[in-house]
Amino acid sequence: MEYFYTVIILIGLYVVLASSFNLIIGYGGLISIAHPVFYAIGAYTSALLSRDFGVPIVASMFIGAAVAVIASIALALPSLRVSGDYLLIASIGFQLGLLELIKNVSWTGGAGGLTNIPSFLVQSVGRETYVALVVVVAVLSVWLVRSIAHGPYGRALSAMRDDELAYSALGRNAIATKVSVFALGSGLAGFAGALYAHYFRYIAPEQFEILQSAAILTMVVVGGMRSTWGPVVGAVMLEALPQAITFLNLPPSVLGPLQGLLFTGLVLIFMFLRPQGLVPAGDLWRATGDKDAR
């Protein structure tokens, strides 16, 4: 049963990650691969605050998300002032650089990872409660992204993606919009990171590397960019698949690369055969309440 709970929690967390990444890359049109880094920031911040400084876990989780938001603004604001391409380069540097930092510094546990993260809810009220919590957060995240994307803010995002120059000439601040979207998406990822940390109670830099970026990217691209359910489908599918492979009882040195091969191979196949993804988005922006909104 515990294994089942673990899978549900992982799927729930990936739904949050994929939806929030869809907000950034699909709706915001921003190219970044640094999403796992904000997942990591949320996880590490919450873990360290609660374990080493006695901060109550709920507060730690929210602070973790807040730190992720601040870090994302620090990354996006200078980069986007230059151009969207620079955000990509900066995000790569930020991802690799921060992980390098975590590996080399002792108080994060270094490359070996951070252990003994305080448990939340599981010992007091039981695992089921934590599972329910993650599911609720996942549902709220999907709902949040959907209502933003199909509300007046989403209308602005759609216009910005179409023609940023015309958008700016109407009086809209494109950079502020992009940074806000980036910050919100990263904040959600940070909160998911905190949720991860307090259930699995062990985090290590290798869990947040480029493989994670590829996985989340796969979920969004294969699931369907700019659709509400695409990332959900992508997250469920891509969490279920690796679980299926683990039953083959392969050695870990083969399992890891094989999973990676699966992710990247899937994305490439979908990109050429079905670029719109499993749940395609419509071409036209529609408001919530519109029967065709997907």
Partner: protein, 312 residues
Amino acid sequence: MLSFGVIAQILWTSLATSSYFVLSAMAFAVVLKVNRLFNFAQAAVMTVAFYAAYTLVGLLGLPGRAGFVGALVASLVLSAAIEILGLRVLRRRGASTMFVFIFTLMISELVAYLAMLIYGTWPATVFPSLFWPATLVGPVAVSGWDVPAVATMLAVCAALYAFLRLMRPGQFMLAVADNPDLAELYGIAKDRVYLITMLIAGALGAVAMFLYGTRAQVQPTTSIDLLLFAIAASVIGGIGNIWGAALTAFVLALLQNASVLFIPSEWQGFLLYIVLFLAIVLFPQGVHFRKISQLFHRLFPRRLDNTHPKDA
């Protein structure tokens, strides 16, 4: 601590080790300039080149030359495949920049995972041993690897320069880089030029990786680290400026080598990311080399009789 000998050694080692940085930076820069593409797939080509050389030399015991040729052939084949089967198809479909980026990134990851599956993740080198005999030239230890590496770098730079300026395909590349639509109107086949550029970048990457793999250990993800270096150099050196990228790569290599005097070696890698981030924030359009030299000449003017003011 900062004796002449130490400085000279650092300068020499930097020059030698910058060879693979410079070559891989030029590879990235040329595709960025002509094809207007951030070619993350370069890492895949470099990985394939290395493992081809490793298989031929390290595993099958063939001489180094065979490994070098193997690396070149493998990189050219993969580069052609990526361009013809991948990038060209995406171009025809009018794929967005994001889509193309995801494609090139995924290719590099795919190749990295394949390499992990086939060769494992433990480090490998082209030759079974990394030992190169060293001779002392004054205070500087010159390894047997250094001179061929520097010679290769200079030869390749010269060849590329000559190719771009003097040979027709090279001139076409510059024309397409400048204005692809206009070049097309003049009868230049853009697709052919894009292919040639990818092949050249592949070759440059192969040479870079061969040099690297004969001096240091390589893992399936090494080329991605090298690629980051190449990206940093291309961005800081000014997008569209191949020689700016080469020069920046050399300076960055120098910085990284010199930093060992000031910071513990585990942090050397981190330094690069800091430099990259600062460069993006401070020099968003890349460093303007011309402006720097103009500034320099304004600060240190030469009189007509060629003496410095303070010499008088």
